[in-house]
Symmetry: C2
């Protein structure tokens, strides 16, 4: 695992270099403040998961060029753009332990810099992955927006089904991760079967990623994650551990959970009680099981790639899937 | 002029039909609230200037297909996306006499629906005008953002030059109008010379359009424009009439204007006095002269198109340029 992580970190640093070069290229025609906002918002210790996925997917299909790093940047640009805008929407003070772009530079800068990165991302994908790549990328973007509207609609609904949850995490995480894998494969001139397999890998990986994220919100170590636990409960966000608990719980316990959720000001005080109820019905273990199944699906999608020449890339993507389960932050 | 306007209005209605069809196509996969926001924000009596420009530019280069209406829609989508976001930034209550999207549906919906239209616009241009069209479109978008940052930087500078002003109006209006003309020409498979001429037409037209807009902010009839006069002065926005007046004014008058501008709370009370000073130095007439020159440049760019088969389109584009000068709202 350590060798895999080391390899991923080295590639992530190369992605950062390409982003730096891209900004340097744009700098002469760019307002200094805009550049400052982009530098602040883009280089914040992100793991560059989406760029890495696009790159490895492309290599797995046989591509060996270095332009793929530029393609990778597009996914970080779009990801950052959505974070800039989401932090306004959620009124988030911090992001990765630093002030959010919105808090540091104001709402105007956060909206506009997000729009800038949005356009830069689209231009990059269009240039490198052509109209087919752009179509996938834009569909992921509109799908993400649609998912956010769905979340707004469900914001104060506490009887969500596992199906609702799956829809929500696709919009939040799965679509962009799947698009990174699929577009990487398109860029690498993969066959239709290869493109579909890598998309499938991305969908499964994205779901696992978000389930683990939601588990960390209950069980994470704040020292490692950099954020307190219980945020989802406080905001009334019903995630998989709670859904599975409600499905399994006896009437009395279910009613108790719903009554805690119903009173917004009470939620934080009852976080330990909610955790105990979820643990009682094995909600955490069951959610983790779902993540493991998704990771297993992701890894199985890669069995199509049997060539010795791409064994390294396949191993890295398998390692990335394993890392999603192992991560503590 | 009336025949031209009638022809334009009929084409604008067809654009509206294509946008309706586009939304109907997307509806099955779209949250109902998102659809409501898009319907509200897109169909608000807009004149569809940008779509019309893209269409006529394309036809002027010899294109005769009806897909060009779809291409036109992309410019209205991007335009609407920028308005959704700008109304948040400017905290605007109204837009075309109705509540702004931001005021009616909230900041979250306005940000997200703007992002949705942004992606839809990019996908449409990529699909129809290819990677070259997309590159122009994205450059216009990033340039518009850059222009807004520049405006923020200049927000409380009252000694702007005519050059600063020209930069600002390019970002605000010129870039997207020029992109509509240029991409229309690319879509219509125009020669490099034709593409350049139509871009030039767009740049000049965009400048004239914005100068007239800024004149209407001083001299418009609120009944016709649907908004009060003096907004730019109140917000401390230094537009062409004021710049030309400052350039021409005697020291005492210039100092008086700067002292009025320096005290934000005093500006509205002194609007009549500012108007009188601008009139004294022929600032309105000089600004109008600039708009007329820009329109003449725009019309001159069209002289490249001599074919009898495109005489109608050329006449419409000339008419549109004339309309920019004649418009009262």
């Amino acid at each position: 695992m350590d060798a895999v992580l080391g390899g991923l970190r080295a590639e992530a640093r190369t992605i950062d270099q390409y982003m730096q070069e891209d900004l340097a290229r744009l700098e002469p025609a760019m307002d200094a403040r805009l550049l400052e906002v982009l530098n602040y918002g883009l280089f914040n210790g992100g793991k560059r998961v989406r760029p890495l996925l696009a790159m490895f997917a492309s290599r797995l299909c046989g591509n060996t060029d270095r332009e793929v790093y530029k393609l990778g940047c597009a996914f970080e640009y779009l990801h950052a753009a959505t974070l800039f805008h989401d932090d306004i929407i959620d009124n988030s003070e911090t992001r990765r332990g630093k002030q959010s772009v919105f808090k540091k530079f104001g709402i105007t800068a956060a909206i506009l810099a997000g729009d800038f990165l949005h356009a830069l991302a689209m231009a990059t994908v269009g240039e490198l992955a052509g109209v087919e790549g752009l179509r996938i990328f834009c569909n992921a973007t509109t799908g993400m927006v649609d998912g956010e509207f769905m979340q707004l609609r469900n914001a104060e609904r506490h009887n969500l089904s596992e199906l609702d949850y799956n829809d929500a995490i696709m919009g939040k995480t799965g679509l962009l991760i799947a698009a990174a894998c699929e577009i990487g494969a398109v860029y690498g001139r993969g066959s239709a079967q290869q493109v579909a397999a890598l998309r499938e890998y991305g969908v499964s990986l994205g779901c696992a990623f978000q389930i683990v994220d939601d588990l960390l919100d209950y069980l994470g170590d704040p020292v490692k994650t950099g954020k307190t636990t219980g945020n989802d409960l406080v905001e009334g966000k019903i995630t998989l551990p709670l859904i599975l608990t409600m499905n399994a719980a006896r009437e009395g316990d279910k009613a108790r959970l719903l009554s805690i959720l119903a009173d917004k000001s009470e939620r934080i005080a009852h976080f330990p009680e909610v955790c105990a109820l979820v643990a009682k019905y094995d909600g955490f273990a069951a959610a983790r099981k779902r993540a493991e199944t998704a990771v297993a699906n992701a890894v199985r999608s890669l069995t199509l790639f049997t060539g010795q020449d791409v064994l390294h890339e396949r191993t890295l993507l398998e390692g990335l899937a394993g890392y999603v389960l192992a991560r503590e932050k």
